[in-house]
């Protein structure tokens, strides 16, 4: 099992550590639910160093990336970030990623569990003259501060040149950044992105300074900020209706069925891997689609639980958990497209059934 550069911090803080995507990661430090509420109400600090950070440079960088991702990189402005899928030829999802357009390069941030797979895939496809692919995961640390107080807490300590200041950094935008905490200046980048459904930022800093930066940042922000583990990251993203690879997405699942059409540019010129297959699915209509449900009762519906419409099995749960914000279990499930929206569905766990109440995704939207 690999460790991130921030692992000593997790050990020091007494985190409960588990394996995730090949890395030893904190699932919680004190309490999953408390950390969840911290992010919804104040701000939480996350280690995201397990994610893959890839860089593509060269005159053909944009063109090369456009051929392997579903979103349209050439149409992105400098400083812009977009959600995208990387698909196989059949339209199945190899990974869901973020694409960053920096002045002279493109970054791709990918899921930890898909790092090695994509390293091979991108190694094969992001090649040729004027394209240089580089894995920067181990040299750049990635730390997130997520929650409604994130901007006011960070702004006094961050200066930028691509934008006037931190508050003027827009949603899904990236800037260069100098972080001034603990009497030190650390240069890197900052983006207004996240996976929690709250406002928040992700910082990209030199790996060798990650532990000190984390400590200094926590010190500078004070007690309102708490370290948060991947456990609450999962409940936060589920409430926010965001997919998790290995749950809502995999090589056999296409993004159109998963409700991610916004990240797919079917008419992109010059094409991309999986385009023909996705165009066909879009035209014929997916045979199943991802839907949100409130689970009646206390028992959460978990991944793999079957969804039933009377005698007919019509679907399968992809993610399910108690929702700390809403106070009852919620679940996402793939359900056959011919099942009406108001059909009375049930989820089955170990032979016992609980009613499902259809709910539009996302389950939770922050007030702006």
């Amino acid at each position: 099992m690999q460790k991130t550069v921030l692992n000593p911090i997790h050990v020091e803080l007494g985190a409960r550590l588990v394996e995730f995507g090949g890395y030893e990661m904190p699932v919680w430090y004190s309490s999953l639910t408390a950390e969840h509420h911290t992010v919804r109400q104040r701000a939480g600090l996350f280690d995201l160093c397990h994610m893959g950070r890839y860089e593509i440079t060269g005159d053909r960088a944009v063109e090369a990336v456009d051929a392997v991702v579903t979103n349209h990189v050439a149409r992105m402005k400098t400083g812009q970030i977009r959600y995208s899928l990387v698909c196989n030829e059949q339209g199945g999802v190899r990974d869901d990623i973020l694409i960053y357009r920096l002045p002279d390069r493109v970054w791709l941030v990918v899921n930890a569990g898909n790092r090695d797979k994509l390293l091979g895939w991108f190694g094969d496809h992001l090649t040729g003259p004027d394209v240089t692919f580089r894995d920067r995961s181990d040299e750049l640390a990635m730390i997130a501060l997520q929650g409604p107080l994130a901007e006011s807490l960070l702004a006094p300590h961050v200066s930028t040149t691509w934008v006037e200041d931190l508050p003027s950094l827009g949603y899904y935008k990236i800037s260069d950044a100098v972080l001034r905490v603990g009497g030190k200046e650390r240069s890197g980048w900052i983006s207004r992105t996240g996976y929690t459904g709250e406002d928040g930022f992700e910082l990209y800093l030199p790996a060798e300074e990650a532990c000190d930066a984390w400590r200094d940042l926590q010190e500078a922000c004070g007690d309102v900020v708490e370290p948060c583990g991947l456990g609450c990251r999962d409940t936060l993203r589920l409430e926010a209706g965001m997919p998790l690879y290995g749950h809502e997405l995999d090589e056999e699942t296409d993004p159109i069925s998963a409700g991610l059409t916004f990240g797919v540019r079917l008419k992109k010129p010059n094409g991309f891997i999986g385009q023909a297959a996705l165009a066909r699915i879009a035209e014929e209509g997916p045979t199943r689609r991802l839907r949100g449900f409130v689970v009646e009762g206390k028992r959460p519906a978990r991944q793999g639980a079957t969804v039933h419409w009377g005698d007919r099995q019509v679907g399968i749960v992809t993610s399910g958990s108690p929702s700390p914000t809403l106070g009852h279990p919620i679940a996402c499930a793939f359900v056959a497209s011919d099942v009406p929206d108001d059909a009375a569905l049930e989820v089955e766990t170990r032979g016992s059934r609980s009613p499902l109440r259809p709910t539009p995704l996302p389950f939770y939207t922050r007030e702006r």
Binding site: R16, T33, G231, R299, S321
Partner: protein, 127 residues
Amino acid sequence: MADVPGDRRYLSSHEWAIEQDGTITIGITAHAAEELGELVFIDLPKVGSEVSAGESFGEIESVKAVSSLNSPISGTIVEVNDELESSLETIGESPYEGGWMLKVQPSDPGEYEGLLDADAYASQLDG
């Protein structure tokens, strides 16, 4: 280091059993409760149903995960702690007392002696 009382026996899957007046009370250890974190659901069997040594008798769920509950011994359930369903925090607060789950009339009293004693279970936690 979690508390491991010496007055009872254990399964390596973190359940305890204690013999009192011919019946055996079953629950999960402080270590197990700590590992699970915040509990959200428990599924216990009904009085009168049978349990088998080493086999699952129910499930317990934290926010994050589902865990199977295994019976240390075989027998017939004579009492179920129905209060747990509405007060799951008792399991974490008092795993060896208020957090008990089942009382079982053993069908093979010899099984109890074959379970891990406190030292054996505690050394497993150290490992």
